[in-house]
């Protein structure tokens, strides 16, 4: 590669400062003792204490977590099925419609998806609550899962599956003992993506949630509409910490497995 110039170094430094400074300021000021957000009034963890004493936030967090777990699991099952059918299903009637329906929610503005789901739930008389949020999130996130899983399915060697079938596996056995273990990393990252999208979603949830089922993003949004609040800074810091921990751990595990595989291959080649 060519020389790494001063221009490159400057643009990288400024770029990453721009990406990370706002979050860094948010984290630092969540430990601010005073109520005024811009004036430093000594280190304190009092906003964290207040956050954990606020029942409304804890309830919202619990709702968000349950919705996230349920919808991402459902979305992973449905998305994997859809990906399998699209990549391996051969030709069938309505294949184009199906791949269109799998692609559209990804690019469709969320306000439209939210409004249309709300109108559906009203039309069929389904009360808005936890169930409707789970249905909305599953529909939205299964499309992302199917994108992730099908990109893995495309590259994977179909003859392995055929060999299993030749050796007497039933199609189910072949799927669970050959295909699934191979595509497992993609299925897991699909699940994580679905879970993160569900935890983060404000727009769909605002349309389809009822009064008894406020999610964390809805709660945060209504709190920050009125201005900056130190309690929300504390909550944001916790959420940023969880995500950073998850992403860094995942990439370390991934790196280790890649190095291990390379090492194994080298040893196999040497022997």
């Amino acid at each position: 590669m060519r020389r790494f110039s001063w221009f490159n170094a400057t643009s990288l430094t400024l770029g990453f400062a721009f990406l990370y400074l706002p979050m860094l300021i948010l984290i630092i000021y969540s430990f601010n003792g005073g109520r005024n957000v811009a004036i430093w009034a000594g280190f304190s963890t009092k906003w964290y204490g207040e956050l954990f004493r606020d029942q409304a936030f804890l309830d919202a967090a619990w709702v968000t977590l349950r919705v996230g777990l349920m919808s991402s699991t459902l979305a992973t099952i449905l998305g994997t099925m859809a990906a399998y059918v699209i990549v391996r299903g051969g030709r069938f009637k309505g294949r184009t419609v199906m791949s269109g329906m799998l692609y559209a929610p990804i690019v469709m503005p969320e306000v439209i998806t939210g409004l249309s789901l709300l109108l559906l739930f009203i039309a069929i008389g389904l009360d808005r609550g936890l169930v409707t949020i789970v249905l909305a999130h599953t529909t939205f996130t299964m499309c992302f899962v199917s994108v992730v899983v099908s990109s893995r399915l495309v590259t994977f060697d179909q003859s392995l599956e055929e060999a299993a079938l030749d050796l007497g596996c039933t199609p189910w056995d072949a799927f669970f003992s050959v295909t699934l273990p191979i595509i497992a990393p993609a299925v897991i990252s699909g699940w994580l993506l679905a879970f993160t999208l569900s935890l983060d979603d404000l727009v769909l949830a605002s349309f389809v949630s009822g009064p008894s089922s406020t999610t964390l993003p809805i709660k945060i949004f209504s709190a920050v509409r009125l201005g900056v609040s130190p309690k929300i800074n504390a909550l944001s810091t916790i959420m940023i910490a969880i995500v950073a921990f998850g992403v860094i751990t995942a990439s370390l595990i991934n790196k280790r497995s890649v190095t291990k595989r390379l090492k194994d291959e080298q040893e196999a080649a040497a022997s």
């Binding site: 957000v37 859809a82 690019v107 959420m239």
Partner: protein
């Protein structure tokens, strides 16, 4: 067709049909109906059991009043134009900010690149809402930026940035920057360095080599990045409502307000249909360019 195959195809198919396509048709329908029919309890007026007569009755009741209303009220018109303006300008700024970063990443030593990639992806996993919110504390009248500028003596009184369109631009560039960086980086990383060496051997300066070789070869990344920013920004709702002011008109925000405060569902549905018509054009163009790209690589 065996049962296993039917089950595999049927379950996701029916799910998407029921929770994506049908709701969408309902929106189309409500956008064409009177407010009296569409407020809760909303009753669909199309009864398939009535057969042809029902269908004829249904179509005779459709009206385009909601769309005419959108046309007559300048608010909507202005909101469409300003959404497009904001989307175009912010995509351009994001490109100008993102390109040097992607370029720097592609030039960085090999062993840094994985870490740099992760640093770009990490914000993407962090809550969108929180990333937008983090700017509220920076841009406000008593915010971090104003305090810093006043302390440095650059300004005498705080600047009004929060609740203006400037804040919306900053918010968009900040939150969508990874979408711009990643495709451009992917294109630049694949670039064959010997082409640049050849250009310089043939008498190009480094700058002309950049304009004649690097930039044209990174075009697929630029195109993909611009679409990935432009398409979601048009319908954006969170950024204009948190960082924008009352005079920031964006169609996603209008739709949400029409639905939540005015409870005017037919008009909200009509706004949604028109928003979709606007977004469809860039989506189709993007699809086409991606397909062409895939074919070129074969």
């Amino acid at each position: 067709m065996n049962y296993r195959r039917l089950f595999l195809i049927g379950v996701p198919y029916v799910w998407l049909l029921a929770l994506f396509l049908v709701p969408f048709i309902i929106v189309l329908k409500i956008s064409l109906s009177d407010i009296a029919l569409a407020i809760p309890p909303y009753t669909p007026t199309l009864h398939l059991s009535d057969g042809w007569e029902g269908l004829k009755d249904f179509f005779s009741k459709l009206d385009f009043d909601n769309f005419l209303f959108l046309k007559s009220d300048p608010l909507y018109w202005k909101a469409y134009v300003s959404s497009l303006q904001i989307a175009i300008l912010s995509t351009t700024i994001t490109l100008l900010v993102g390109y040097p970063i992607a370029y720097g990443m592609a030039r960085a030593p090999e062993e840094w690149r994985a870490t740099l990639m992760m640093l770009v992806i990490l914000p993407f996993w962090t809550s969108f809402l929180i990333r937008v919110y983090s700017w509220m504390g920076i841009l406000g009248k008593e915010g971090f930026l104003n305090s810093a500028l006043m302390w440095l003596g650059i300004v005498d009184e705080p600047l009004t940035i929060l609740n203006t369109n400037t804040a919306v631009y900053i918010g968009i560039v900040y939150t969508y920057l990874p979408f711009m960086i990643l495709p451009i980086y992917a294109a630049l990383e694949k670039l064959d360095v010997s082409l640049l060496e050849a250009a310089e051997d043939l008498g190009c300066t480094r700058t002309t080599a950049f304009w004649l070789v690097t930039l044209p070869l990174s075009r697929p990344g630029i195109v993909a990045g611009c679409f990935l920013v432009f398409i979601p920004v048009i319908g954006e709702f969170v950024i204009p409502s948190l960082l924008g002011g009352s005079n920031t008109l964006m169609i996603g925000k209008i739709l949400f307000e029409e639905f939540s405060s005015n409870r005017d569902w037919p008009v909200a549905s009509a706004v949604a249909v028109l928003l979709l018509l606007i977004v469809v054009v860039p989506i189709v163009l993007f699809q086409r360019s991606q397909e062409r790209q895939a074919e070129a690589q074969k």
